[in-house]
């Protein structure tokens, strides 16, 4: 289960583990949906991170990529090319499975860099 910094947690996420303050008092139980109010409470109590359930887009990087993921028609033509490229691969091997899946979800590198979002010069922000 990923541990997120407080600044990366948004309302609507679900806790994977209890959040307690320094003295062990329960602030919010696992499986609860996090609200704005909870986030304020966490900040007040000096909580810096929490264990949340995996999201559909699990990192800021993936969020950018999903914008650029193939449309249905792109994927259809892309998948012919991919079938060919992966022709001699063992599709059951875990590494090949992951690579093929990733390649199916993303445009080929040849199509160029994804558009940069406003207010961010494209660099990974810490």
């Amino acid at each position: 289960m990923p541990v997120y910094r407080l600044s990366d947690i948004t309302p609507g996420m679900t806790l994977a583990q209890d959040v307690r303050d320094l003295s062990g008092r329960l602030l919010l139980a696992a499986d609860s949906e996090i609200t704005d109010k909870h986030l304020r409470i966490f900040r007040t109590w000096g909580i810096s991170e929490a264990d949340v359930l995996p999201q559909q887009s699990d990192s800021p990087l993936v969020a950018v990529e999903l914008d650029n993921a193939g449309t249905e028609s792109n994927l259809a033509s892309g998948s012919d090319e991919l079938k060919e490229l992966f022709r001699h691969c063992d599709h059951n091997h875990p590494f090949i499975k992951e690579l093929l899946q990733f390649a199916q979800l993303h445009e080929p590198l040849a199509n160029g860099a994804p558009p940069k979002s406003a207010g961010n010069d494209g660099k990974v922000s810490l």
């Binding site: 990087l61 993936v62 091997h93 660099k123």
Partner: protein, 287 residues
């Protein structure tokens, strides 16, 4: 007269040689009497190299929070030990491309190599290796043997490539059958001739048979997997090689959990675009 590995190596002189500044930088880095400042001063003699180092230091390779605007800071971030690899990478691409065979799509070739370099670097980072730039260099240079073969053999090489695309027979298999050696062997020997360290040239020789590399099993495994990743992510414009068979031993040696792969591939994607902008498109933005 039949072609031998040795005769091809002898002809590699035609590809060109490293300019003097590369040797001066390498010597200065190795010499404990040279300070970081003095190394920086040599670098600054070449404005193209200086600009490139600054761009690298400011790219996703290093994820710095504040912009780096001096060579001294760039060197402090990159480190002198890694400088050698980046300098070599810069000059190989600039100096040798000019001599490639006319029919070779140079840009496409380097894009695959850059993708491989970035993938090597990312895998090494995931394994927490020190000095990850040497992995970048290794990936960048791994297919130079192909270039040399194409440049020297022309038609024969083109036929093998066509056969590979139509029938899926691995290129290295045909090369071994027809020539007695393959582009990996040739590439590794070329890098050895250029006096690159064993951890770089040996894995290149073994990248299609990584399990046989006794001295650098991790480097060979990384290069083998990075090659596969770099083809799977499709940097080229089509008509390229198929993904070679995966050697499962290499995957085992790497010892990385499958769960990190999606994030790793994402990082490779981002760094690939940065690297292409820095190493390939110096003059204009390209798609």
């Amino acid at each position: 007269m039949s072609v031998t590995l040795e005769s091809l190596l002898a002809n590699s002189e035609r590809l060109g040689s490293f300019p003097a500044i590369v040797h001066r930088i390498n010597d200065a880095v190795e010499d404990p009497r040279f300070s970081l400042d003095e190394v920086g001063q040599i670098v600054q003699e070449d404005p193209v190299l200086s600009a490139r180092l600054l761009r690298i230091a400011n790219s996703s390779f290093y994820s710095q929070r504040f912009p780096i605007d001096t060579i001294a800071r760039a060197l402090a971030v990159i480190g002198t030990k890694q400088l050698k690899e980046l300098v070599t990478a810069t000059y190989v691409m600039n100096t040798f491309s000019a001599q490639f065979h006319n029919d070779l799509d140079t840009k496409s070739f380097w894009k695959h190599c850059i993708a491989c370099g970035v993938a090597c670097r990312a895998l090494a980072t995931a394994r927490r290796e020190a000095n990850v730039e040497r992995f970048y260099l290794m990936g960048l240079l791994h297919d130079l043997g192909k270039v040399l073969l194409f440049t020297e053999l022309g038609d024969q090489s083109a036929k093998m490539l066509k056969n590979h695309q139509q029938n899926g027979i691995p290129l290295y298999q045909m090369e071994r059958d027809q020539l007695g050696f393959d582009h990996a062997d040739l590439g590794g020997r070329l890098l050895e001739r250029w006096k690159l360290p064993m951890e770089i040239h040996q894995p290149v020789s073994y990248h299609h048979k990584p399990a046989e590399d006794a001295e650098c099993p991790l480097e060979s495994a990384i290069l083998h997997l990075a090659d596969i990743i770099s083809i799977g992510l499709r940097p080229g414009s089509g008509g390229q090689a198929l993904i070679p068979p995966l050697n499962n031993d290499a995957w085992q040696v790497l010892h990385l959990p499958t769960s990190i792969l999606p994030e790793l591939f994402n990082i490779i994607r981002l760094q690939y675009f940065d690297a292409v902008a820095i190493f390939l498109d110096d003059h204009a933005a390209d798609g």
